[in-house]
């Protein structure tokens, strides 16, 4: 557990230390240091893997250890200097920060109380572990699809994965333990980032306290999972908020802005790309508005945004615009009713009230910077409401922006000019309400259908044990065949290769259906060897077949759902007599050798069938 916790801490520390090490003595901001450090780590991993290749792991690791330690040592010196020279924080801000951290911790205790260490609740992480492991083996490319066929699209550069690989190797943590702490740390940091942005907006500790509390207690429980899961788009969103605070705090020099935008763009092409557009617009509008002449234009812009949002919020699902809803992505184009439902569960039933308060704040504010910020980031609202398949992923950005803006609006409406007693009562009322919404939301729209034997987890302990068994040299070059969710889990946790994991192609899924429905062992063997990995085939004569209760449940889905990548057997399942019978039937057949069995999985070595 200590290794896992230190691995998670290293994930955040390494880029920061490397960044401060690179920019030592230049007075750059934290946002610039993080971007520089992350890009530098990616470059170092690339250099090591390209120069030393697969064949010299000691040289690769040695080079990385020396270069990263050098940068980190410089970074440590820089941080020490800054801490020595820093001006003290206002006491109210320190108290507010402690309050936010307390609320965030309380929320996480509630959220993760039935996910004891090391339960696994981050589905996407399994892909990232695969990529980090490939980096550790010496692979390097900026194109994700070159690492593993579990990546069907390159939607970001591996800037997320370089620190993951380094922190994982340096800590020696288990994969599941590392992500348990990464998710937890991400949730706490997300609350602190909204707190920080809340401070930057108007420089008021109360705003920061409200922003951090709302940020900690807002859970986008589907599609975005912003404050819950450590993943590239959420990290990009968090980084956008750090840059936004930087924009509000000072005039960012062009060189630093370039580094920030570059990192944001490669961190996630969609979320980061929109972030780049917004951040760029913020700086451009401020540059154009040196004398405040754009105030009227900004008011008009704000009114337009409200009008467009209103229209989009009310569009009828019968007239849905589905310009990009092709294949599986159509499943993520939510109707107006569905979006409304989600908003209510994330933000409370009267979430419209936030919109009204925000519009009032944007209209009445005298500060040019704040109005620019309100109007430009306000564009996220119609973007989320637009009937585009993955528009809810923009909550990765909106989560961090809406909470501080709403906080400023609430502070302005209910706190300013009031006595301390009234402020305390109002604060207690709001935080209690947000906590109630969070408690109901996390139970009903996140965990409710993801429990196994009382534990909120996507992977059972028995499946983790099976993954540890697979992590041995004998299977390093062996293709494992299983139902898609099991492939995804075992590939991520053990490093064994599968054909596409949960993103298996239709052809692979067809073979899997044959394997799990056939009554002929010979036909099963033929189908197991008919499965094709798009990148590497591995051993010619040996394959592994994993049989567990998820397979029976996957076969019970409609045929359309079995072919869909968004439909999975998400939770572990209890084994049935049917599963037992299937394992016994295969294990007793020629060409099959049972090598591992526990209540969750049986692993069977399959030898190549003789060609007639």
């Amino acid at each position: 557990m200590i290794r896992a916790a230190s691995g998670a801490a290293l994930y955040y520390l390494l880029p920061l230390l490397a960044g401060y090490g690179l920019l030592s003595g230049r007075g750059s901001s934290l946002a610039t240091a993080w971007a520089s450090g992350s890009l530098a780590l990616l470059a170092l991993v690339g250099l090591a893997n390209v120069v030393f290749g697969w064949s010299a792991p000691e040289l690769r690791h040695g080079f990385l250890a020396v270069s990263v330690t050098f940068l980190a040592a410089r970074g440590l010196g820089e941080i020490r200097r800054r801490l020595r020279d820093r001006k003290g924080w206002p006491r109210a801000l320190t108290l507010a920060g402690a309050g936010v951290l307390g609320i965030a911790l309380l929320a996480q205790v509630l959220l993760r109380s039935d996910s004891p260490y090391p339960s696994f609740v981050n589905w996407d992480a399994l892909q990232h572990l695969t990529l980090a492991r490939e980096m550790n083996r010496g692979a390097f490319s900026l194109d994700l699809t070159r690492y593993s066929d579990t990546f069907q699209l390159a939607t970001y550069a591996p800037v997320y994965h370089a620190p993951l690989f380094l922190a994982w190797v340096a800590s020696g943590a288990t994969a599941e333990g590392l992500y348990w702490f990464l998710d937890l740390l991400h949730s706490l940091l997300a609350a602190l980032v909204t707190f920080r942005l809340g401070w930057s907006i108007r420089g008021k500790a109360l705003d920061a306290l409200l922003a951090g509390s709302l940020g900690a207690l807002t859970l986008e429980s589907q599609i975005a999972m912003t404050g819950f899961s450590h993943m590239p788009q959420n990290l990009a969103g968090m980084y956008f908020a750090v840059c936004a605070a930087d924009f509000l705090d000072r005039k960012v020099p062009p060189r630093e802005l370039t580094i920030q935008l570059l990192y944001l763009a490669v961190a996630h092409f969609f979320v980061g790309g929109i972030g780049v557009a917004l951040l760029g617009a913020l700086h451009i509008v401020r540059a154009l508005d040196q004398k405040g002449g754009l105030m009227v234009g900004l008011k008009v812009g704000g009114v337009l945004i409200v009008a467009v949002s209103f229209l989009l919020a009310g569009y009828n699902s019968a007239f849905r615009m589905d310009p990009f809803s092709i294949g599986d992505s159509a499943a993520f184009n939510l109707s107006a009713d569905q979006k409304n439902d989600l908003f209510r569960h994330w933000y409370g039933y009267g979430y419209y009230a936030y919109g009204i308060l925000l519009a009032v704040l944007a209209w009445r504010t005298k500060g040019v910077r704040l109005r620019i910020f309100c109007v430009v980031t306000g564009l996220l609202v119609p973007a989320i409401l637009f009937p585009f398949p993955y528009s809810f992923k923009l909550f990765a950005l909106a989560h961090f922006v809406l909470a501080p803006l709403v906080a400023a609006a609430l502070a302005s409406a209910f706190f300013e000019g009031r006595t301390r007693g009234v402020q305390v009562v109002n604060l207690a009322l709001l935080v209690s309400a947000w906590f109630s919404i969070f408690a109901v939301n996390q139970e009903l729209s996140l965990k409710r259908w993801l429990r196994f034997e009382g534990v909120f987890t996507l992977v059972s302990q028995d499946e983790m044990v099976a993954a540890r068994f697979l992590d041995q040299p004998r299977y390093r070059d062996t293709l494992l065949v299983a139902e898609p969710a099991t492939q995804h889990i075992l590939e991520g946790l053990s490093g064994v290769n599968t054909a596409g994991g949960t993103y298996a192609t239709a052809a692979t899924r067809g073979q899997l259906m044959d394997i799990f429905s056939s009554g002929s062992p010979e036909r099963v063997r033929v189908s197991v060897f008919a499965v094709r990995d798009a990148l590497r085939q591995g051993s010619h004569d040996l394959r592994l077949l994993a049989v567990g209760p998820r397979a029976a449940h996957w076969m019970a889905l409609d045929a359309d759902d079995r072919l869909a990548t968004f439909e999975n057997i998400w939770t572990p399942q209890r084994a049935t007599l049917g599963d037992e019978a299937r394992v016994a039937f295969l294990a007793g057949s020629p060409g099959f050798q049972l090598v591992f069995k526990n209540p969750a999985l049986a692993l069977i070595e399959v030898s190549r069938p003789t060609t007639p």
């Binding site: 699902s317 409370g348 000019g417 006595t419 009234v422 259908w449 009382g454 029976a552 076969m555 019970a556």
Partner: protein, 240 residues
């Protein structure tokens, strides 16, 4: 206290009430399960078989585990857990119902897809409609029951306005309910109730031991597909 402070307190209280409106843990609703068949994996692949009797369902820990079939197979209870948004079906409004089940104790967590088929739940003019659709292998017949469960203590089944008490007997007490009898399920906590609409042509039975309504012949067969639809409409009665 200054007038402005009082106004601020009232405004903030009103605002909080607004964002909390609709979250009402005391508003329990009946759990509806649609059963009638089970899926079992065997060495020949997947088979779907008829079930003989509801007595095969043994309550393990109703507060947590759901029901388990006699042979250890998990049944496909529809607890409205079907992931409503993954399939992007307009009109599916399950979360409202989920919120409302809070008062009935800890809800069940069995995934609806476990017995095969798919569930849909819709709200239509205030009524909830639950539908299950399954593919059947050649020759298979679904058992013809829909069950409406009234969970532990918080919900009472009423027939023509008269409450039915739960029996603790080990045997099965199962009586047919006349066609014209009005079946309602009423929350002890809130006084709210639901009117059960029988699917066309089905017979209804009251099981006072498992405390459920069983609707026989509720499945419609069409080729290799079978479907069933259950409708409950909310109504309010006076507590008196």
């Amino acid at each position: 206290m200054k007038r402005a402070d009082a106004a601020s307190l009232i405004a903030c209280g009103g605002f909080v009430a607004w964002i909390l409106a609709g979250i009402n843990p005391g508003n329990s609703q009946p759990w509806i399960s649609i059963e009638g068949f089970r899926a079992e994996a065997s060495h020949d692949g997947l088979t779907i078989s008829d079930e003989d009797d509801a007595r095969e369902y043994t309550p393990l820990s109703p507060a947590r585990d759901g029901w388990v079939l006699g042979n250890g197979q998990i049944s496909g209870l529809a607890r409205f857990e079907d992931f409503p948004f993954a399939r992007s079906r307009p009109g599916v409004e399950i979360l409202d119902l989920l919120l409302s089940t809070m008062g009935a104790g800890r809800p069940h967590f069995d995934y609806a897809g476990q017995a095969g088929g798919r569930f849909e739940a819709r709200r239509w003019n205030g009524a909830f409609r639950v539908r299950k659709l399954v593919s059947l292998p050649e020759g298979a017949q679904p058992r013809r029951y829909l069950h409406v469960l009234a969970p532990a203590g918080t919900l009472i089944i009423h027939l023509d306005g008269l409450p039915v008490t739960r029996r603790a007997s080990d045997g099965t007490a199962r009586d047919e309910i006349p066609e014209k009898t009005r079946i309602t399920i009423v929350s002890l906590l809130t006084g709210r109730g639901w009117l059960l609409e029988r699917p066309g042509g089905s017979r209804a039975y009251l099981n006072t031991v498992s405390y459920q309504i069983e609707l026989e012949s509720a499945f419609e067969l069409a080729g290799r597909r079978a479907s069933s639809t259950l409708t409950i409409s909310p109504f309010r009665r006076s507590r008196g």
